[in-house]
Amino acid sequence: MSVAIEITDISKQFRLYSEKHTSLKERVIHGGRMPFTPFWALKDVSVEIDQGETFGIIGRNGCGKSTLLKCVAGILKPTTGEIRVRGSLAAMLELGAGFQPDLSGRDNIYLNGSLLGLSRAEIDRRFDDIVAFAELDEFIDNQVKFYSSGMYVRLGFAVAVNVEPDVLLVDEVLSVGDAAFQRKCLDHVKRFQREGRTIVVVSHSTDVMRQNCNRLMVMKQGHVVTVSEPGEGIRVFLADLLGVGMGEGAEPGVPGGNVLAIGTVQAEHGGSGERMHLYPGESLTVTAEVDSLAPVPDALASIAIHDDANELVFASDPDDPTCALELPEGGGTVRFHFPEVPLLDGTYSVSVGVRSAVETAIYDWKDQVTKFEVVNPDRSTGRVRLPLDVSFRHRSTGLTGEVPVVPPAYAPLAGWEESAS
């Protein structure tokens, strides 16, 4: 697989001026001197992003992820380093950037498309697709300033995805629009993935990242913390976000340090021993060995289940009193017991963690550490086997029944009740 984006030793320095002289007059008065504090928004960032990969960048506000994206897009010039990109590139840093409010939607499609690198002929060809995607047929000749904010971003997104770039940069724009439009956007992202295009996405949403990315880069204060599988990346990100010292840097025993570690995690279910899978409605027990170097009075056990599309199926309630543990020194075994797992076919992964009940700290988190499989013997489909009860009440006779197949001309069968009304 060849490399789509090669980022080599990128650093970007911003100058923070205490007072900025933006006029010749002021510069002359101050003798051309402008004291500034250098601020490195990016420091020695190197990464290679493969062709066809969906690469996520995650980090707290101000960690430099947007700056990096802007450097790749060619909007900001890095102070040092080199960025090479293979093929065409389109950046969705802000939907509808460069829209002229006074122009019609039609004119803005042409303007925005051209800015993103489409030729006039190409826009002519894609015009109908763009309008259809944005769902703006009847408004396309109205001035954009009269659009609702939803129409505005839809048009912006429609233009950007129709550019069909080899490399697409996406900055937090997947979270716009209503649910239906969001799904449409994600469908487009999925299509891009199938077509082998490279996508670099910046987001705060760990769910979006987990579902869509092949690899995740965690950034902190302009540095790359790690580039890894999405699950591990999210763990690192969350741990950092919640203020816990990670790995070798942290001293054991001190509050917030590595006082606690989760060891083996095992899943047992109602069918264990007989079969590899469980049937819907059977029980599931997850046990996690926990070692602690010191007593942890505020430990809070949590468990999460993801399906094979990486979508969250269940996460435990932090307010559930049974999740609160008073871990003694030395540790023990945490047992999570689901008396009934009403899930339908699929392979589900289990993540287990222990966090603090009083602080926003994670002691340890094992992401997708074990799996279990559900096989459904009957013919219901979907994700969850919901308890179902079907009955029928006939309009003219007022009779209700379990099985609505008997026409009213027949006498009621045994077991049918007379309606009260």
Partner: protein, 327 residues
């Protein structure tokens, strides 16, 4: 660190195709073309990019025009009406009230103003265009010179509209241009465009860093206007200089102003006369140069303008890297 376009990348043998490549994305970029995003854009590449993005330039120009006239029913008619009104006022003031003896002075004035309006309009507009379009500059990557050039494009459209008014007025007053000399105008127009483009690109970049450039530009352009023989004639300069032999250099200094030869060739071709008779004496408005002299002067202006244009692109390239953070 090698940022050179043609130098091989400091990379292992597993990615040999990452060698070379351009420094900018082009419309319809092929999938295997490698772009050094932050590379230094060479001058040749910049010129090529301008050509490759001509669609975008046309569109930006059209956008500017549309935005300008959106909401006015008469649209382009307004931009015809404005110069027509100006022409009528000149006629009223200089032919009826403040007679200076020069016949059809309004046409003379308009011939020079035509050139000046293009230059002035573009330079003023371009000064604020990058700052004004901060929304695009901060969010989309494209050759930003196009913004400055789109303002020149708008000025060209205004120029054409004014030519229409001028032709109408000449037919109305029964004035014939000097037909052979009209052949000079394409060269003059080209020189004007290149020079205006150079100044516009330069000013658009500088104003991002020094925001009072626009006020300075306004004042400088005012001085520049009066240093160009538009309202008065080059003949008047020659006469004044002739009485003081020590001031002979002033004439040459005048011609060093790149706009002056362009203005003079427009006046020569459109006004069609180099002298007129007033109060029994002959008054020269323009020197008795042949077409060759005008062509040579325009050729020099064009050559200088091309140099300035390249220089402006270089300066723009130096300054453009930090646009997104300065805005």
């Amino acid at each position: 660190m090698s940022l050179g376009v043609e130098q091989p990348a400091a990379a292992g043998p597993d990615k040999p195709s990452f060698i070379g490549g351009s420094t900018r994305f082009v419309p319809g970029q092929p999938s295997d073309r490698v772009t050094v995003v932050n590379g230094k854009v060479e001058l040749g590449q910049r010129l090529k990019d301008l050509w490759l993005n001509r669609d975008l330039l046309a569109l930006l120009t059209r956008t500017e025009l549309k935005v300008k006239y959106k909401g006015s029913v008469l649209g382009y008619l307004w931009s015809m009406l404005n110069p027509a009104l100006v022409l009528a006022i000149y006629f009223a003031v200089f032919s009826l009230i403040a007679k200076n003896g020069q016949p059809h002075f309004a046409i003379w004035l308009f011939a020079g103003l035509l050139v000046w309006n293009l230059f002035n309009g573009a330079a003023m507009g371009a000064t604020t265009v990058v700052v004004g379009k901060a929304g695009i500059v901060k969010k989309v990557a494209f050759p930003r010179e196009l913004l400055a050039l789109s303002v020149v494009g708008v000025a060209i459209v205004m120029f054409v509209l004014q030519i229409g008014v001028l032709i109408l007025a000449m037919v109305l007053f029964g004035i014939t241009p000097d037909w052979p000399y009209l052949a000079l105008l394409p060269l003059g127009f080209l020189a004007l465009l290149v020079f205006t483009g150079a100044v516009s690109i330069f000013l658009s970049a500088v104003n991002v860093y020094l925001r009072d450039t626009q006020h300075l530009t306004e004042v400088l352009l005012m001085a520049w206007f009066w240093a160009t023989p538009i309202v008065y004639t080059f003949g008047q300069i020659s006469r004044q200089v002739a009485t003081h032999p020590s001031l002979a250099w002033v004439k040459y200094a005048y011609l060093c102003n790149p706009v002056t030869p362009i203005v003079m060739s427009f006046q020569r071709a459109i006004y069609g006369k180099t002298s007129y008779v007033y109060n029994g004496g002959v008054t020269h408005v323009l020197p008795n140069w042949g077409m060759g002299t005008y062509a040579a002067l325009l050729g020099m202006v064009l050559a200088v303008s091309v140099g300035l244009f390249l220089l402006a692109l270089l300066v723009f390239g130096r300054l453009e890297g930090n646009f997104a953070e300065e805005l």
